[in-house]
């Protein structure tokens, strides 16, 4: 089963159960990013993650923003910048930048 399908099924399930959930979709990507445009992740604040928008590379930032989006109910686009100095030991050194649309389910 495709990743997209798993994520949408999880989104629908969260909605039906009335759980706190947020959907993240990569809508723009430039340079070296772990995942491309169209990659998705469901952040169910009660049960966890389904799918991925890039693992260590930027996912923590997306999850942070997801909490905010859930609280406010206002969708937003987060820019994830992975172009930090590669000697910094930061996880964000892949080399690219991507935009994630984050919306409450």
């Amino acid at each position: 089963m495709s990743e997209t399908r798993l994520v949408f099924e999880a989104a629908l399930e969260s909605a039906r159960q009335g759980r706190k959930a947020v959907l993240a979709t990569i809508v723009n990507a430039k340079g070296s990013t772990p995942r491309g445009v169209g990659s998705r992740m469901l952040i169910d604040l009660e049960t966890g993650l389904v799918g991925t928008v890039g693992g260590g590379c930027g996912e923590a930032q997306v999850i942070e923003t997801a909490r905010e989006v859930f609280e406010t109910g206002i969708a937003q686009v987060a820019r994830v910048d992975l172009t930090e100095d590669y000697l910094s030991w930061s996880p964000a050194v892949c080399g690219g930048i991507f935009d994630v649309l984050i919306e409450r389910v």
């Binding site: 989104a11 937003q76 649309l101 919306e103």
Partner: protein, 273 residues
Amino acid sequence: MNTAEAAQEILAALAGGPPVVEVLVMDSPTSVVPVGTRMVVRATSASGSLGDTEADARVRELSREVLRTRRPRQERIDTPAGPVTVYLEPHFAPDELVIVGAGHIARPLCRIGAMLGYAVTVLDDRPDFATLERFPEAVQLVKADFSDPFRGVALGAGTHLVLVTRGHKYDYDALRDIMLRGVDLAYVGMVGSQRRVRATLEQLRREGISTERLAAVYSPIGLDIEAETPEEIAISIAAELVRVRRGGTGVSMRDRARVVERFLRHNHPSGEA
């Protein structure tokens, strides 16, 4: 429309229904059409709205293009409240993987194929081989007759066909049937030693199958990783399927990007790395 409503319509397409385009406002100067506003567009209808007839008509026009190109894109659209940027992504029924021969290789290949998102069909002429117990991830199991091997199986431009039968007589029957149909599949691969492959090809040439059609067959099947066990061979075949889907060379990334090699040469020019 909300996210859950959109998810429902997109899932219908992903489960084999008519294709749809998901439309998502990703940039907007106005709270009239906020970021996250959704539409789902089908061939002749749409759900949701950008709040303006003309803007909706433009979205439907763009969606038709996206269904044609099959790739996501972004586009600026004028609305009475100002220009908004929309993200458009098409959603289709999954590609099919048709495995002919329900033997040792077919079992791991069916599992991996399902993991990769293919709708897997397994076909065999022997009773008790293409069964749900052996292939729990398959969406279709067919008891076939090699005089008409693909009866009841839909074959099209999204079909990936893997021939892994127990004998080249059956590979030949199935491949011949495909070659004579004149439909172009996404992928046709056939397992076999060089000798067994040559025997099959010779017979097909004698039948008058054209060089171009035979040249399109991936045989021997799979990427070159010296696979030996059924599981390893399934991985090798799956890797070839991913390559057909995504592109690439099939060579180790290390030897393609040569980051290590160039790093060492740069830092140890005399070669005593």
